[in-house]
């Protein structure tokens, strides 16, 4: 029975990311002489994983549905600048700033989703356009309204408690948002009937539409989720660090896509899991931040990320083949 359940574990989409995580930690411990106790309790990678993970969840969902959203790279600064300009510069209530930031995310998501469903332009190109366009809007908007590219924000206590304070002076409260959202997304994708629609959409869009799934509405909703999640992460960043900058965020594009793919989501859609995306973000964060705990020179971290990415994708391909080939042996 044990052997059987291990085999069934191997067929799951998240297996590659879990193994990558184990390998990366093992590598750091053996080669880099990391003190595991230190690493586990460290806030640096956990905060990093939470910020990354919140964006990776909806981007991963979009990828399962067969689409890509890279406009998140400018939605993160857009979210932080919106809340800082509204509630910092103009001193409006923080609620207005929060709603403004999230509303900006919804609007850009609707725009991306509308174009992705009503034109034949690939979503990579559409969101590349909105990535650059939003960047332009944020920079010129900030210069026009405030005359600066960086805006301070002093959020009231309740807002800090909910969105951006440091627990024990080091853990960002966004970690809890990440855990909660992971649970919500897992319910949505794997337990609710709608999860089936997302897989079908990414598997074969025409057949999904023919089966009666409102594919356009679903896709627009997924785009809205990803740009709103990015705006949310930006907003929380502004609240916790008491200021917002127009730059930054571009790294997220790369980081999020790597996490999602390491997490076992098929780049071409139709396959993946939330647990995988969750572990993908942790793995990426540990590679990226854990290097500081090793005696390895941190300039090597990109090499490690590259190798890990390829290794994880190879593992994922193998496990997917195993899943496809799986047929239960005849009961005698």
């Amino acid at each position: 029975m044990n052997g059987f359940s291990f085999r069934s574990l191997l067929r799951r989409p998240e297996m590659g990311s879990v193994l990558s995580l184990v390998l990366v930690v093992a590598f750091y411990v053996i080669i880099g002489h990391v003190d595991v106790g230190n690493l586990v309790g460290a806030a640096s990678w956990l905060n990093f994983a939470a910020n990354l993970g919140i964006v990776a969840l909806p981007v991963g969902l979009l990828m399962i549905a067969g689409e890509l959203d890279i406009s998140i790279g400018s939605m993160i600064p857009a979210g932080s600048m919106t809340v800082a300009i509204l509630s910092g510069y103009y001193e409006l209530p923080i609620v207005v700033g929060i709603l403004g930031a999230l509303g900006f995310g919804v609007a850009v998501g609707l725009f991306n989703g509308y174009l992705a469903t009503h034109t034949t332009v690939p979503s990579l190109i559409i969101t590349l356009g909105s990535l650059v366009a939003v960047q332009g809007v944020v920079l010129s908007g900030s210069m026009l309204l405030t005359g600066a590219a960086s805006v301070p924000l002093d959020a009231p206590d309740w807002a800090k408690t909910v969105f951006g304070h440091l627990i024990a002076n080091k853990y960002q409260v966004i970690v809890f948002w990440w855990l909660g959202l992971t649970a919500l997304f897992a319910l949505f994708l794997h337990v609710s009937p709608w999860g089936n629609w997302v897989f079908a959409l990414g598997g074969d869009e025409t057949s999904a539409r023919n089966a009666g799934i409102p594919t356009n509405r679903l896709k627009i909703m997924l785009f809205v989720m990803s740009s709103t999640a990015a705006a949310f992460v930006g907003m929380c960043g502004a609240i916790v660090f008491n200021s917002a900058q127009v730059s930054g965020g571009m790294n997220y594009i790369f980081n999020v896509i790597v996490s999602v793919v390491v997490g076992g989501v098929l780049l071409t859609g139709g396959f993946g899991s939330i647990i995988g995306i969750f572990f993908g973000a942790i793995t990426f964060a540990i590679v990226n931040q854990g290097i500081y705990f090793t005696d390895i020179d941190r300039n090597w971290s990109n090499l490690i990320i590259g190798v890990m990415l390829i290794a994880a994708v190879l593992m994922n391909n193998t496990f997917r083949k195993m899943a496809l080939a799986y047929a239960p042996r005849k009961k005698k």
């Binding site: 337990v191 609710s192 009937p193 999860g195 089936n196 629609w197 897989f199 079908a200 598997g203 074969d204 025409t206 057949s207 999904a208 539409r209 023919n210 089966a211 009666g212 799934i213 409102p214 098929l266 139709g270 396959f271 997917r320 899943a323 496809l324 080939a325 799986y326 047929a327 239960p328 005849k330």
Partner: protein, 274 residues
């Protein structure tokens, strides 16, 4: 049967894609308990016709009547909800989804209450596996298996089993026997007869005269988007039907042209048309 109102009726239906006219002035009736065979050459417009019937395309002009009443299908779901269920020529299943999930795409069984409805995996798997096994595919035992691991014919059987499961009044099958083995193909024919006996209307597209003759009550032949012939069982011979299916060219002519080519080319058959 002529006195009964048809379940589905097309009146002067046209369909064009931009400047390309694919269907022209289609008039057709399908009655309950009757199998309509839709025949015609590749590109004649058969798939386009059934896609207009099941809500994938909207007709450019003309009317679709269901039970004598004008209906408009804005999306496939509308047609589905009125009991029209379709197996399209390609697709219909999802390689990387499990058999149970693929079977129920768009009509997921749930358990639980209100907003806490959850996908009922056990039920989905059980029904899906039973439906394909009833189809003669007894190798399938586990609804968690991924569809992509099945053979082409097994996948096709899964798609047909799904349509039969959900088809309440009209069952539309676009070349369902194309990928199937002899046993499964004859099973599809049996299923069609069974659906007919239960009072469903069946629209069956095939390129195989034998299959059409075996189950058809009513035949319509499309040639370049127009109905070239519309007749009932027994009104035409097998040769005449074959000729019509070849797009109007008689088989005898085709054979004669091959023979005359062989005569002038030292017995070699003509190269395939470019």
């Amino acid at each position: 049967m002529a006195d009964q109102t048809p379940i589905l009726e097309l009146e002067h239906v046209d369909k064009s894609f931009g400047p390309i006219d694919v269907l022209m002035d289609i008039n057709l009736k399908v009655h309950a308990g009757e199998v309509l065979c839709l025949l015609g050459d590749n590109g004649a417009g058969k798939s386009t016709l059934i896609k207009t019937l099941c809500g994938v395309f909207k007709p450019t002009a003309g009317k679709i009547l269901m039970d004598g009443k004008d209906v408009r299908f804005n999306r496939p779901r509308d047609a589905q909800e009125m009991g029209i269920s379709t197996v399209h020529q390609f697709g219909g299943t999802f390689a990387l989804m499990s058999i149970g999930r693929s079977f129920f795409v768009g009509v997921e069984p749930t358990r639980g209450w209100g907003p806490f409805k959850i996908f009922d995996r056990a039920k989905a798997n059980e029904i899906a596996v039973r439906a394909v096994r009833d189809f003669g595919i007894t190798r399938i035992e586990d609804g968690d298996r991924l569809v992509g691991g099945l053979s082409g014919g097994e996948r096709q059987s899964l798609a047909i089993a799904r349509a039969v499961h959900f088809g309440a009044r009209v069952l539309i099958l676009d070349e369902p026997t194309a990928a199937l083995g002899v046993k499964q193909a004859s099973h599809v024919l049996r299923i069609i007869n069974e659906a007919k006996r239960r009072g469903l209307a069946v629209i069956f597209i095939t390129h195989q005269v034998m299959h059409a003759m075996a189950v058809g009550d009513h035949f319509a032949v499309l040639i370049r988007g127009a109905i070239a012939a519309d007749f009932r069982r027994g009104e035409k011979t097998r040769e005449e039907i074959t000729d019509l299916m070849a797009g109007g060219e008689t088989m005898a002519d085709l054979e004669a042209s091959i023979e005359s080519y062989e005569d002038t080319h030292e017995g070699r058959p003509p190269p395939p048309a470019p």
